[in-house]
């Protein structure tokens, strides 16, 4: 097979299926015409070589044809791909973290950190892979997002959030909630537990009673820091680090509380949350107590998840300015 046929064979590999033969026939006719004009008689290898060199590599030639684009997701779809990939990733990670939290709370098998961590890490390429497959199909089908620039309204621009400003509402809510819990803990220190109506039977919560000093300490530290933040009005490096430290203390306390409750529930014959609900039908004092303890446990798991999220956000804000250190070039003043 001569060089021209080898070239065409290679071009065929990169061409879109549509019009493939037609395009190849045209290139062949062009190459023969050119060779005929340049060389009298039979063209040799060198003549073909120099002509093909002028045509360019098969890949490049094929890529110039409509439909021969050498990419999976084009520039029009790419911003949407990024957006969807972000949403999917957030949903997949969020759902798994939630599942871990629920599993912990329902007292399912002991928590195997590395196994769970591995599963979460593995889910990232899998979910991104599916998004890519969907977008490649959309691209192949020629789906184009409708972006109407004329409809774009500058007023729809999102407000830039000043990340260093302290959101006073959030902080004051934290101070109020913390103070109320502290006051309740102090006022009813001997009556921490579950009261069942009707009847007013009281069941103490031994796990919570045991942890009261630590809870009070972490609440006090958190309230003090919030008051300082409201007073200062701005986050600083120091206050962010302090907030992370206080949150880590809270997380430790909450983890101990969850573990304590789970252990207590297991020791009192409560095999998971659903069994606890079922047992309520028995209306025995134990069933009410178990239900109460499970409710406490749920509240602490929720608090744990919320604190974790807040801490991760704080850590990101803490690390980001260190990673992205950008300064303007010197400005000359006339």
């Amino acid at each position: 097979m001569n060089l021209i046929e080898r070239y065409l064979h290679e071009v065929r590999r990169y061409l879109p299926a549509k019009n493939r033969e037609d395009i190849l026939a045209e290139i062949r006719s062009h190459l023969t015409d050119t060779l005929e004009e340049r060389v009298k008689g039979d063209p040799g290898e060198e003549d073909m070589e120099s002509l093909l060199k002028e045509m360019g590599s098969p890949r490049k030639l094929a890529a110039s044809y409509p439909g021969g684009e050498q990419y999976l997701i084009g520039p029009e779809l790419y911003p949407f791909f990024r957006m969807v990939a972000g949403i999917v990733l957030a949903a997949v990670l969020g759902a798994q973290l939630l599942a871990v939290g629920v599993g912990l709370w329902m007292g399912e098998e002991t928590f195997r950190f590395w196994e769970v961590f591995g599963q979460i890490v593995m889910s990232v390429p899998v979910s991104i892979g599916w998004v890519i497959i969907v977008f490649v199909i959309l691209q192949k089908r020629g789906v184009q997002p409708k972006v109407d620039e004329a409809d774009w309204d500058p007023k729809s621009l999102p407000v830039v959030e000043e990340t260093d400003a302290v959101k006073k509402g959030e902080r004051i809510f934290g101070i109020a909630a913390g103070s109320i819990i502290l006051a309740l803990l102090a006022a009813f220190s001997d009556r921490i537990g579950i009261v069942v109506f009707p009847g007013g039977n009281f069941y103490p919560n031994p796990v919570l009673q045991q942890m009261v000093p630590w809870i009070s300490l972490s609440l006090l530290a958190s309230i003090a820091l919030d008051i300082y933040l409201v007073w200062q009005g701005r986050w600083t490096l120091g206050s962010r680090i302090a907030r992370v430290a206080v949150n880590l203390v809270s997380i430790t306390v909450l983890v101990l509380l969850v573990q304590g409750h789970t252990a207590w529930l297991t020791a009192h014959g409560s095999n998971g949350f659903l069994v606890t609900i079922e047992n309520l039908a028995l209306a025995t004092p134990e069933s009410f107590q178990n239900m109460g303890m499970a409710a406490f446990n749920l509240a602490f798991v929720v608090a744990l998840v919320v604190t974790w999220i807040e801490t991760i956000v704080l850590l990101i804000r803490l690390v980001r300015p260190m990673v992205r250190k950008e300064t303007l070039p010197g400005i000359m003043v006339k």
């Binding site: 045209e26 006719s29 062009h30 110039s64 044809y65």
Partner: protein
């Protein structure tokens, strides 16, 4: 930051300039039907060099945009794909020619002011 040398920069920028006018040049030469190889000759005669690997895909694009029409014609033993400007192509060519003249005037004025 500048890794290109000057002659490379000139080459790239002038290629970019030329790329913009190629469809206009091709449309103007296809008032009567021609096949690709002959068109390259006509363009060269007019002083416009075009890569063979650029012309054929461009003809396809213009056809896809309904500015050109094409048909295979058997000449002797060899089939050739002939292109000719469509009605829509003619209308657009007229508008673009005017556009080109205006641009040319503007640039003349602009570049005339640049001291040599």
């Amino acid at each position: 930051m500048n890794t290109q040398n000057e002659s490379e920069q000139v080459l790239n920028l002038s290629q970019e300039l030329r790329r913009g006018i190629l469809p206009l040049a091709v449309l103007s030469l296809l008032k009567e039907k021609k096949y690709g190889y002959a068109l390259i000759g006509d363009l060269a005669a007019a002083g416009i060099e075009i890569d063979q690997g650029t012309l054929y895909p461009m003809l396809r694009r213009l056809e896809l945009q309904a500015l050109l029409e094409s048909s295979w014609i058997l000449e002797g033993a060899r089939p050739r794909r002939y292109y000719v400007i469509s009605e829509q192509g003619s209308r657009i060519l007229e508008i673009l020619s005017q556009e080109w003249k205006n641009l040319n005037q503007l640039m003349e004025k602009l570049l005339g002011n640049v001291p040599n």
